[in-house]
């Protein structure tokens, strides 16, 4: 947490911190406090009439079944995306970690989707799975699969899960690979001499030793699915059908959109903010003393 060697003084460090603090205050704390203020107001779309309503927006929020639905959607969505993207990435990483010819090329080919914008990823996936345009959707239909993400909430959820997973695999892959490479070779060799066959070796040695990486990625992935998937959901389903793919963040946006329910949207932001601060504290502890051996 602290260096043993350091400088002292007050002006210089404050000057160094100034740009960051200024930007943080102006573009983070000020708007955040605005959001808190807004969450106590009832306003029309154009902001021409305002009423202070105390906690009514919050009360509405917790009465709104749609909010709980979004909560559940978020939970389902995050769980699946995390599990899928982590396990697939782990599989790929374990394979790419073998000393095989061309491993480097495979690595490069696997990491680049990291660079694809979520919104673009969403477009790619809708393009594949749109019931009328999509080549794969047609393929499914010709196989007799009743695929209809426009109407079937499960299909839609599956689609956004796949798109979000696709986008996240490369990031997880990268870290798993690094994690694997940081496991001392001699530990693996010791296990070989101890007679552990590859499968058992993986589950008893490699996987436990990866747990710091896995845990770190879990946290990062949760944040990813919470926030960064906005673009995917917006382009793929727009939260539909009948709210089946509306996540918490998406709901914040869509409720506030067009100024229709800014107060409610702000109240949701505040709730989310609290959740995120809790997660941040958790993350902080984790970074300070990671799950490590």
């Amino acid at each position: 947490m602290m260096k043993n060697a350091y400088f002292s003084g007050l002006t210089v460090p404050l000057l160094l911190l100034l740009p960051q603090l200024a930007i943080t205050v102006v573009f983070f704390y000020w708007p955040a406090s605005q959001a808190v203020w807004q969450s106590f107001l009832l306003q029309d779309a154009f902001g021409t009439s305002t009423e202070f309503v105390w906690f009514e927006n919050y009360a509405e929020l917790f009465k709104d079944p749609g909010y709980f639905k979004a909560l559940i959607n978020t939970a389902i969505f995050s769980t699946f995306v995390c599990i899928l993207s982590l396990s697939i990435a782990l599989l790929f990483a374990v394979m790419a970690d073998r000393q095989i010819r061309g491993a480097e090329i495979y690595k490069t080919l696997l990491i680049w989707p990291y660079a694809v914008a979520p919104a673009v990823a969403g477009v790619l996936w809708i393009f594949m799975f749109d019931p009328s345009l999509g080549m794969l959707a047609r393929g499914l239909a010709s196989l007799g699969v009743n695929w209809n993400p426009r109407l079937n909430g499960n299909d839609a959820m599956l689609l956004v899960i796949l798109a979000a997973t696709w986008k996240q695999i490369s990031y997880n892959f990268l870290f798993f690979l690094a994690g694997l490479q940081s496991i001392p070779k001699s530990v693996i060799e010791a296990a070989v001499i101890d007679g552990a066959r590859p499968w058992r070796r993986f589950w008893t040695i490699v996987f436990p030793l990866l747990s710091p990486t896995t845990f770190f990625l879990l946290v990062v992935n949760i944040v990813y699915v919470f926030f960064d998937t906005f673009g995917i959901i917006d382009t793929v389903t727009g939260g539909g059908p009948s709210g089946a793919t509306e996540t918490l963040v998406y709901k914040v946006y869509s409720d506030g959109k067009g100024g229709s329910n800014l107060g409610g949207s702000a109240a949701q932001s505040v709730v989310l903010l609290v959740m995120v601060i809790a997660m941040t504290a958790f993350q902080f502890r984790f970074i300070e003393r990671r799950v490590s051996y």
Binding site: Q43, A45, F46, T48, P241, S254
Partner: protein
């Protein structure tokens, strides 16, 4: 030179039209310059306009689709009513010159025009003539009533269109809003909201339920197949997948460009048992709103621009090129007289629908605040019924109830 910002949501050929209009206007005089900016979909554009207004950077002209009307007109001070604008600018302006079926939607109950109609359309039934022939149907006599449509769809399905007998784009527009007007039954009290923000939704009435029940039933074997809330599914018609599709008359350009088969359109079907059906359809599309808080000089330019676009020749050209409806009576008459519709009857279908009968309380239009969001709720409920989560009745009840909640909240915030 005074710059006039114009945010719009038009794409494709219509986007060209916008750009050309602005260019022509700019070339026609030296004082004003209209700068059009495409802002994405209708909801995105409305959203951007609202956000910009709140931030004090609204454009002068904002194109808002018909469902945004309620939201816009509630905001006194946020918008500048067109009739006021024209009067203050001293521009010649006669509200009676415009087609009432169109302007009715954008006027107060007293008949004051609030926004300038721009691109208007209505919903028609597009059908694939080749498919009809293949299924042994008469391609020149498309079905008129819903039962006939269902029959035709079954035959089409049997003839190989097994993924989709008929469908529609714009789920709520087709199945609630147009459906109500066309059958002369109310969606809400207070003349569907035209007479006040305290309107109460009531479209969970038997005919709506019956229609939705039919769709749900037919969805099961894909005689009907849902195609989404917007017009994303329109490709299903042009590709030949769905031989019958209810969607906007503005679909015309797309069909003309992409359908590799013989096609036509017809008025929307109706249930014969409904008294007075078919009544008249309502419009879709968008109008141009003038945002509040601008300088008089700028308003003057906007008014000039409106005069410019209302000119008869320009209207004729707009109509024949874009497929959108003419907004002045004179323009309609002129096109009709030219015999244009003989070749292109599908362009007249929506006008005939709109003017089919004198509008009633139930068919003049509708005006709800937050209709954009309410439509999403309605869509959700329709989707819930179609995928079997709810019975049609329960779905419509929920749609009404949740919609009313939104209306009541809107009512509280709307400045009166």
């Amino acid at each position: 030179q005074t710059e006039i910002q114009w945010w719009h949501a038009l794409t494709g050929a219509n986007n060209d039209v916008v750009v050309k209009l602005a260019e022509e206007f700019n070339a026609s005089q030296k004082d004003y310059k209209v700068v059009p900016a495409y802002k994405g979909s209708y909801p995105d554009t409305l959203n951007a306009g609202i956000a910009a207004f709140r931030a004090g950077t609204a454009p002068h002209i904002l194109q808002v689709f018909e469902v945004g009307t309620g939201t816009m007109m509630s905001a006194k001070g946020a918008v500048k009513p067109v009739h006021e604008l024209m009067k203050e600018a001293g521009e010649p302006f006669d509200p009676k010159a415009y087609l009432p079926a169109i302007t009715g939607y954008y006027s107060t109950s007293k008949g004051d025009m609030l926004s300038m109609p721009f691109n208007s359309s209505s919903m028609v039934m597009w059908y694939n003539k080749d498919a009809f022939k293949k299924a042994g149907l008469n391609a020149d006599a498309p079905p008129k009533t819903w039962p006939e449509v269902f029959e035709a769809a079954k035959k089409l399905k049997a003839a190989g269109f097994d993924k989709c007998g008929f469908t529609n784009a714009w789920a709520t527009w087709a199945n609630i809003e147009q459906f109500g007007a066309w059958h002369n039954i109310p969606i809400a009290t207070k003349a569907n909201g035209l007479e006040g923000f305290d309107a109460v939704l009531n479209f969970n009435s038997p005919l709506f339920v019956k229609h939705l029940t039919n769709l749900v039933e037919l969805q099961k074997d894909k005689t009907y197949d849902y195609s989404g809330r917007t017009n994303n599914g329109e490709g299903r018609f042009t590709s030949g997948e769905c031989p019958i599709m209810l969607t906007s008359s503005g679909f015309f350009g797309n069909v003309r460009a992409n359908a590799k088969f013989d096609w036509g359109n017809a008025p929307m079907p109706y249930y014969p048992e409904a008294a007075g059906a078919p009544q008249n359809s309502i419009i879709g599309g968008a109008s141009l709103w003038v945002m509040g808080g601008k300088k008089a000089e700028e308003y003057k330019g906007v008014a000039k621009f409106f005069t410019f676009i209302s000119h008869i020749d320009r209207q004729v050209k707009l109509h024949t090129e874009s497929g959108y409806l003419p907004i002045t009576k004179a323009a309609y008459e002129k096109v009709k007289a030219s015999g244009f519709y003989k070749d292109k009857p599908y362009l007249e279908t929506p006008i005939l629908e709109l003017t089919n009968k004198e509008p009633t309380e139930n068919s003049r239009g509708l005006r709800f605040g937050s209709l954009v969001q309410i439509r999403d709720i309605w869509s959700e409920e329709i989707e819930a019924a179609l995928n079997g989560q709810k019975t049609p009745k329960a779905a419509l009840d929920a749609a009404v109830e949740r919609g009313n909640q939104m209306l009541r909240q809107f009512e509280r915030t709307a400045s009166r």
